[in-house]
Amino acid sequence: MKSLVIMFAILCAGQTQASIEVGTYEGIDNNRGAFELHVRDIPERRGSFIGLLVNARETKVRAYLIDGFSASRYGFLSMRLTGNYNLGVSSTVPALGLTVSGDSMVLTPNDDRNDMGFASSITFKKASRQTVKWVPLIAGNYSGRDLVVSALDAESESTVSSKVTGLTGDYVLRETRNDMYVLLNSELTPTGVKLSKDATRFVLFLAGTRWNPARMLVVDSATGTTLGIKNR
């Protein structure tokens, strides 16, 4: 009996878990394009995650709320800027579905209206999982000294002063999801500083490696098109 229990325990330990876990995964689509999927947990929604799907050149980023539909199947609900500083779910129909089986996870389009720009299926090897590269705000200089990001203040806001093409001027970054920041235009008015409530872009930070510095990704919420700025 004892040996049976031990064998069962060994069998269970050997099985690959059929659920998604926090981390960064590498994947390839049908056209052999490379993607990274960064998965973070949501403490106030245990069992669900926030995912970022990023293409190899980091020119396109999509954010999703990932809800479990069954033990091995997840729905990816598109997240967009929805007004009043909110980065929320734009449709209750999942844009993508993820099936976890064995040592791989396959992401496929689910909604006919999917305009995510990731039309084909993408396979991620579970073995590619590494520490999540999507990190909290990194204050400092970017693109030489063309862009400066301050540390977050008590209001969870940071100021950005930029001369970078495509992002010129003074902005405020406001953390509206863990490590996701809405980029707000700040306008001086007779009564004070007015932050635009209808932001169109949000910002994410990816950790650097030995060969590649940390990056600030400025993502157009509607199209996913991204402006990447290096921390150096």
Partner: protein
């Protein structure tokens, strides 16, 4: 007829129309009022008085007018505050406006909107952690939507009270119209909430409130299916979320399924009003046009522009055939995807309709382009700017420009620029670009070679 208390209504035959269908008429259960809105001792009690005396109206009008100006100013003043302070400021203002009307106990949609929003805000803050990024923004979003809804119903409240004051005894409160508008505003805001317990509780309460509104409307029988469906779903679920987030997420999905029927009710109500029906039909026409411009194939055949849209090659082909004009065709230009164009000329013979459509449907890929495409310039000194997310959208604008501004001219001079780049002059020293196909085809072919 009091719709709150009726237990059965006649089962009638299904009514249907070409644009929307009234729902099956069926027996309606008694829909209870949400506890928080009914109990007199509750901070959120909505009151029961639906008719005002002359004296009451004299008191009501200043309150409503004052509330409108206070709310409008509150939104404006909040603009330069920190987000936390915006939330505090709007909470205080909303509470003060509701409190000022409370003793009057009149049923006013303006007050309903504020009162119910305060209830949802209370539920959200009770269920979720204020320090989690996003919670403050969720609250602010609910508040702004609630205030905007209150302002939207200001006029209809005034009109209603005036009619009541004039002694029109047949005036009925449009509960379902309010309920649908409240649902539309709040349910899309609740989608932003990631806290599972809070999202569940907000969905439950909102659906409970709007179902009560639907059930006591004079038109209730027209959306009986939805009322019963919401009622049955809520009856099988707990009012409060459990401790298991995964189970809450499963329940959230059961509740979000109801958003479809709620939208149907909204449509039924809007379509029953002549003015809103016209607006909806206009909006739908515009949406179809926008979709066609983004996803359809723009085609120019000689001097005719048309768009073809369809779910299959066969459908596209039949629609193409139907739109190709008669006559001798030896020039066609058509979009071949988000950002590509093909111009074809036949110097040997004329194409028939079938050949035109076979050419157009060869190797099509439909997708919108990411960023707006912009082409500007002039044709025989008449300037143009075309901008859109597909060549089809630009072709449509070019067809309008050609027909209204340059058709009939001998065209051999153009300037063409893309985005912010300087324009490039183009001259045709051999012949004239004397058709829409030749003019627009040339503009886009050259724009593409200039980096469009």
């Amino acid at each position: 007829m009091k719709f709150l208390n009726f237990t059965t209504l006649l089962v009638l035959a299904t009514l249907s129309g070409p644009t929307f269908a009234q729902q099956r008429r069926q027996a309606l259960p008694e829909i209870p009022a949400p506890r928080e809105l009914k109990e007199v001792s509750s901070d959120f009690a909505e009151g029961t008085i639906t008719r005002l005396s002359d004296q009451d109206v004299a008191l009501f009008l200043p309150w409503a007018q004052n509330a409108q100006s206070v709310l409008t100013k509150a939104i404006r003043d909040a603009e330069t505050m920190t987000v936390q302070n915006q939330v505090r400021h709007l909470t205080n203002i909303m509470k003060s406006v509701v409190r000022n009307s409370a003793q009057k106990n009149y049923q006013l949609f303006m007050r309903f909107a504020l009162n119910r929003t305060l209830l949802l805000v209370q539920e959200l803050t009770a269920q979720s952690d204020w320090n989690v990024p996003g919670t403050v923004e969720n609250v602010l979003d609910l508040q702004v939507r609630g205030i905007n809804l209150a302002l939207e119903f200001y006029e209809s409240d005034l009109a209603y009270q005036r009619r009541v004051a004039r002694g029109q005894s047949t005036v009925a409160l449009e509960y379902a119209r309010f309920g649908a508008a409240f649902g539309k505003a709040m349910l899309s805001s609740i989608q932003n909430v990631t806290d599972a317990s809070a999202q569940y509780r907000l969905l439950y309460k909102t659906l409970e409130m709007i179902n009560w509104d639907f059930s006591r409307d004079t038109q209730a029988i027209d959306f009986a299916d939805t009322i019963v469906e919401i009622f049955n779903t809520l009856n099988t679920l707990e009012e409060q979320p459990g401790n298991d987030d995964y189970q809450s997420v499963l329940a959230i999905r059961r509740l979000t399924v109801l958003l479809g029927p709620v939208r149907t009710v909204e449509r039924i109500i809007l379509m029953s009003n002549e003015e809103s029906r016209r607006q909806i039909e206009e909006q739908e026409r515009n949406d179809r046009m926008r979709s066609a411009l983004t996803n359809g194939i723009g085609v120019i055949v000689e001097n005719t522009f048309f768009i073809i849209n369809g779910a299959s090659q066969a459908e596209l082909y039949s629609r193409c055939i139907a739109q190709v004009p008669g006559g001798s065709i030896d020039e066609i230009a058509f979009a071949t995807g988000g950002k590509s164009l093909r111009v074809m000329t036949n110097s040997s013979y004329y194409w028939n309709k079938e050949q035109v459509c076979q050419n157009v449907l060869t190797a099509q890929t439909f997708q919108a382009h990411d960023r707006p495409l912009t082409v500007y310039g002039s044709v025989e000194e008449r300037s143009f700017t075309f901008s859109g997310t597909s060549i089809t959208a630009l072709m449509y604008q070019c067809s309008q420009f050609y027909t209204t501004r340059v058709q009939g001219l001998s065209i051999d001079q153009m300037t063409i620029g893309v985005y912010n780049n300087p324009p490039v002059p183009h001259t045709n020293s051999s012949y004239y670009w004397n058709s829409m196909t030749a003019t627009c085809g040339t503009i886009f072919t050259r724009a593409l070679s200039q980096g469009l």
